[in-house]
């Protein structure tokens, strides 16, 4: 049997041998896709042909060649016991958290653990019935993994139709290994070994369907496991033969599989609420209790599209970053949107945003990512992705009041920056006046940083010179870039500009694109001296900054 799931744009093909039926949990229903897809070449070869609703002619009237879609990952699903590969040692184990008044505490009960061996990584999860485990086996460099969806430890269960381990040999197995490997212990939260608080889910249904069942699917608490754990393997009689029906993703194995899949692909899994407000994709991330669900509810109530309010996948696609929903709740569905601005949120007494950039922005993103990195390569991959994300989309801290004013604040803020402010500046420079603006982008980092006050004056004809930072007309507004070259081609002057932090130069343009020249840059109330290198502080401990701001 074959079942395809397409999650955040990645096709996962679940396969089982004859006699084994695959039945994913309800929360994956909307993510199931046919294994075959329409041959796109046929459509391309016959431009102008419309099908289906466009013509009134049913799709079936058009011949097409079905092709089997190429999966990103193939997972062989087995109902039987899994075996940790010989030589693999435990490198991480997470314990189940218990909700207690005022927070959560580590119950000390095993929840999931990771083994690493020669060319393979395994993740084993402990299910509702704590004597049952499921195992995910991931050979390195291969996109063909195996899931053993049900292991019975109890030797008395030997009548089970599938293979089984005895409790003795399993316990002996990894107790020996753990004594050798001295694995790290974690809280069981995806965020990090240190993080402890799972999301606090409200039970109220929101007005739209995106969170109708806040089922704690990703909470690592005992209550969540009680709710999600189920009899994983059942026998059923179909046409006179006994088939085994398997849930391929016994919770919380689904979250681990998705994490490994997306992590290895260079994607980012992050806790947050993603919304599409107008044509702007905004992602709000922060620690538990920072207001992610509150913001999702506010935007949802205003009619905006909520991509997801708990766990999203971020990926660079076709030159831009996109955010995708993942199956968490029972009525989730695939949703995607471009990501334009990422906000690190916390509750406040006023709506205030402050742009951040560079290492600080990357650190803030990393602190909210879902990660279980026990190897440097995975951490480096995540850091590289976060670096690219921070350089590509705007990142800001946001203190907000939990009411509708925050939506207006963010919408007006964008409009002001993009249109009104730019138009006014262009008009004033055209009148020969000097204007002062607040920088908001990163393209001129570190010469001009977000929040700097930049004084721009009129730019006289024929004054363009390499090294000048100038204001250039761009998309109805303007950008500040540096002139890198001035050329004369066929008697016409051409200006080549580039952002100091940009990888490639702008397209050469005539001097008429210059609307002003930067006269000075002021940072924190101080006009910057000439670029002589000075001895600043050696080091900033991000921990203090992150913790102080986010928990303060």
């Amino acid at each position: 049997m074959t079942v395809d799931l397409v999650i955040a744009g990645r096709r996962i093909r679940l396969c089982s041998r004859e006699g084994v039926d695959i039945r994913p949990d309800e929360r994956f229903r909307a993510f199931e896709m046919p294994c075959e897809e329409r041959n796109i070449l046929f459509i391309d070869a016959a431009p102008g042909i419309l099908t289906g609703a466009d013509t009134g002619i049913p799709d079936t009237a058009f011949p097409f060649i079905p092709v089997v879609a190429e999966p990103d990952l193939v997972v062989e699903v087995e109902p039987g016991a899994g075996e940790i590969p010989a030589g693999a040692v435990k490198v991480f184990d997470a314990h189940l958290m218990e909700e207690v008044p005022g927070g959560v505490r580590n119950s000390g009960e095993p929840f999931w653990e990771v083994f690493s061996g020669e060319g393979v990584t395994c993740a084993r999860v402990f299910l509702k019935d704590t004597e049952r485990t499921a195992l995910l086996v991931m050979p390195h460099g291969a996109m063909r993994w195996r899931i053993f969806a049900d292991t019975l430890h109890d030797a008395t269960d030997s009548d089970s139709p599938h293979e089984s381990y005895t409790a003795d040999n399993l316990h002996q197995d990894y107790s020996d290994k753990s004594s050798e490997a001295q694995p790290q212990s974690g809280s069981g939260c995806y965020n990090s070994g240190k993080s402890s608080a799972p999301e606090s889910f409200d039970t109220d249904h929101l007005t739209h369907d995106f969170s109708g069942d806040k089922s704690e699917a990703q909470s690592h608490t005992r209550a969540a496991r009680e709710k999600h754990g189920s009899d994983l393997t059942t026998d059923s009689t179909i046409a006179g033969t006994t088939n085994i029906t398997v849930d391929p993703f016994p919770w919380p194995l689904d979250g681990l599989l998705l994490y490994f899949l997306f992590s290895r692909g260079g994607d980012i899994m992050i806790h947050g609420s993603g919304v599409l407000c107008g044509n702007r994709g905004w992602l709000f991330t922060g620690r538990s209790g920072s207001g992610k669900t509150t913001l999702a509810r506010l935007f949802d109530s205003a009619g905006d599209r909520v991509i997801h309010d708990d766990r999203l996948v971020l990926r660079r696609e076709d030159g831009r970053w996109m955010m995708h929903s993942t199956p968490v709740y029972r009525n989730d569905e695939p949703r995607s949107a471009p990501l334009n601005h990422l906000w690190i949120i916390r509750h406040g007494v006023a709506n205030v945003s402050e742009p951040i950039a560079g290492a600080e922005a990357v650190a803030m993103i990393l602190a909210n990512c879902i990660q279980q990195n026990w190897d440097g390569a995975a951490a480096a991959r995540l850091a590289a992705a976060a670096d690219d994300l921070a350089a590509s989309v705007r990142v800001s801290r946001l203190s907000f009041m939990p009411d509708t004013t925050i939506r207006d604040y963010l919408r007006l803020r964008g409009t002001e920056e993009k249109q009104l402010g730019a138009a006014t500046v262009i008009e004033m420079l055209g009148e020969g006046r000097t204007v002062s603006v607040t920088a908001g982008g990163f393209s001129m980092w570190p010469a001009i940083r977000p929040g700097d006050t930049v004084v721009i004056g009129p730019h006289g004809a024929g004054q363009a010179a390499a090294g000048q930072i100038v204001a250039l007309r761009r998309d109805g507004g303007f950008v500040l870039h540096r002139i890198t070259r001035v050329e004369t081609v066929s008697g016409h002057q051409l200006i080549v500009t580039c952002g100091d932090a940009a990888a490639r130069a702008d397209e050469a343009a005539g001097p008429e694109t210059i609307i002003g020249v930067v006269l000075s840059v002021t940072r924190a109330g101080r006009q910057l001296p000439p670029p002589r290198r000075r001895l600043p502080r050696w080091i900033n401990r991000i921990w203090a900054m992150v913790a102080g701001w986010m928990r303060g």
């Binding site: 790290q184 026990w374 932090a501 050696w538």
Partner: protein, 98 residues
């Protein structure tokens, strides 16, 4: 507590992942092979300059010489600051004596 002196030779620890971001470095400690995202360090421009001079061959005194060449600072001040720097980020480094 490791005794760090000007003759100590630092090298980057395998228990840290580092990444240059603009003119800064972000240090991600792998505490027992678990990336600890709650304890990220940022090296500013000057810290990044020193970090890049750490190669497992140069002693701290040699790195101090590079600092004096590059920056407008007296040697005794640079030595004091460099030792302070290395002591502060020693968890990301390994040291040996010549």
């Amino acid at each position: 507590m490791i005794m760090i002196t000007l003759s100590s030779i630092p090298s980057h620890s395998p228990a840290v992942v580092y990444r240059r971001i603009n003119d800064e470095y972000l240090l991600i400690p792998l505490t027992g092979n678990i990336a600890d995202m709650d304890s990220l360090y940022r090296l500013t421009e000057t810290g990044a300059f020193i970090w890049e001079k750490i190669d497992g061959k140069r002693a701290i005194s040699d790195i101090t010489s590079k600092i004096v060449e590059e920056f407008d600072v007296e040697r005794d001040v640079a030595e004091k600051d460099a030792l302070e720097f290395f002591r502060e980020i020693q968890e990301f480094l390994q040291f040996r004596e010549p």
